[in-house]
């Protein structure tokens, strides 16, 4: 309900020293799970996610098969040790909603109609949570899908934006996430300028929202360059 009145911005600097429009240090590595068809580890500051993609592969049980198109299945999970208070393993309502929202963020780019009756599975595991886990997960999942050879229109790039102490900011960390006046999860198809994920909670005027969407787009374009670099790096000879 009411957020504690923590001062999250002092003299224009956030609690981790960043300026409002600054992303945390980002790390991306592709191909870290040997057994997955595609995988990636992405971290934004202290938030670390590993995503694995499998498929396209045969879909059981058969009644789930769609005769004219493949389906994308997505599962977002938080490791019990990823948060301050141990989170008991297993899906909870939040994870179930986030799994759905990640799937809908990725689906628009995948050429699922090339794989009737078959499934592409994406698993997103939060290893360490410090805010903005679902958007980091989408960035990792895109890399995993590309590495697995799943045909896609483009990668999907994602970031969080929001408002703290009246200031519009980019890439919320854990403390900011919990105490924000508003936080927005955003994903887009960078080369087509189309939005595939938009969630917000908090209180914003429509003008603030428009400004935040522009900030989100600018930062996604920066993150997109990092995603591309991570993929190309994997295929360079040593």
């Amino acid at each position: 309900m009411s957020k504690t009145n923590i001062q999250l911005i002092v003299d224009g600097k956030r609690i981790d020293g960043r300026s409002p429009g600054e992303l945390r240090p980002i790390n991306m590595k592709v191909g870290i799970v040997e057994r997955a068809d595609g995988s990636a580890q992405v971290s934004f500051g202290n938030t670390t996610i590993i995503a694995s993609a499998y498929g396209p592969r045969t879909l059981y049980p058969k009644f789930l098969q769609e005769s004219d198109t493949g389906i994308l299945r997505c599962r977002y999970m938080m490791a019990p040790f990823s948060v301050d208070e141990r989170k008991s393993p297993g899906p909870d309502r939040r994870s179930i909603e986030i799994s759905k929202v990640i799937r809908l963020a990725l689906e628009p780019v995948i050429f699922l109609e090339e794989f009737p009756r078959v499934v592409v599975d994406v698993f997103v595991e939060v290893i360490q949570a410090d805010g903005s886990t679902r958007v980091t997960g989408i960035n990792a999942a895109s890399l995993a899908l590309a590495m697995a050879g799943v045909p896609m229109k483009d990668l999907v790039t994602s970031c969080s934006v929001g408002k703290i102490n009246g200031t519009l900011i980019v890439d919320l960390n854990g403390k900011e996430d919990n105490n924000s006046e508003a936080d927005v999860a955003f994903a887009m198809i960078p080369s087509k300028n189309k939005i595939t994920l938009l969630q917000m909670d908090g209180l914003l005027t429509k003008e603030e929202l428009h400004k935040l969407l522009q900030m989100a787009r600018e930062n996604c374009m920066k993150i997109y360059e990092l995603q591309k670099r991570a993929l190309k790096e994997k295929y360079r000879s040593d």
Binding site: D37, G38, G55, P56, R57, T58, L59, S67, D68, V109, F111, E114, F115, P116, R117, V118, V119, A146, M147, A148, G149, V150, P151, M152, K153, D154, L155, I189, P190, S191, K192, K228, L231, K232, Y235, R236, S237
Partner: protein, 220 residues
């Protein structure tokens, strides 16, 4: 030096009337890559060879399959694809077979390896294979390895040069299926396998032929 790797969504060229092959798509008069891979542009076709990905059956492909089920009037064949295939009795055996009195496992049994042809693929990707041509046969003994299907052409090499090199230097009998399955029989199969796996791992690197030659060199 690397062959240039492109990513899904990467712009390749304005649509010029070239045929669109695998791995690319067209939008708004421009051609983009659809998969992570190596672009191949010729005079009349543009495509991207995927560096990963599964095998999608296509009519006419020659594949290596493993019998996974014996049914009443045919066999289910695992062709290393998300799609299974069916080998009907009529496409496998030329003599008359009374299915009510014969167990089909006497012709092909679970675990048998066959080199066959994809004879039919429906819109929903129901797949049928056939053994009814000169090149199809059962493969006895030997072992199976699987690699990324899109890399099979590299294992074969231009005009078959790479596969010949491997066969010669190791003395093994090798069959390659377009579905990424490779069957090898011979004493030196370990060397052949090593060569093939190296090709798979480094298929995007130029100068591979020499490297493989060196790897195999000094054998036999």
């Amino acid at each position: 030096m690397d062959r240039k790797v492109v990513l899904p969504g990467e712009f390749l060229e304005e649509k010029k009337g070239r045929k669109l092959g695998k791995g690319v798509y067209e939008e708004g008069g421009k051609v983009f890559a659809k998969v992570l891979g190596i672009p191949r542009i010729s005079e009349n076709q543009i495509s991207v060879i995927s560096l990963a990905g599964v095998y999608l059956p296509k009519v006419g492909d020659r594949v290596i399959g493993i019998i996974s089920n014996v049914e009443i009037s045919g066999w289910i064949v695992d062709i290393n694809s998300p799609y299974n295939s069916f080998l009907p009795l009529s496409e496998a055996v030329s003599e008359f077979v009374d299915i009510y009195r014969t167990d089909l496992s006497r012709y092909y049994d679970v675990g048998d390896v066959i080199f066959c042809r994809i004879s039919k693929v429906t819109k929903n990707k129901l797949v049928q294979v056939s053994m009814r041509d000169m090149l199809s046969r059962k493969l006895y003994g030997g072992i199976i390895i699987k690699i990324t299907p899109s890399k099979i052409p590299r294992v074969i090499g231009k005009g078959g040069s790479m596969i010949q090199l491997i066969k010669q230097k190791t003395g093994c009998n090798v069959y390659t299926g377009q579905n990424g399955v490779i069957w090898i029989r011979g004493e030196n199969k370990a060397k052949a396998i090593e060569a093939i796996l190296t090709i798979e791992k480094e298929s995007h690197i130029i100068g591979l032929t020499d490297k493989i030659s060196k790897l195999l060199g000094g054998e036999k």
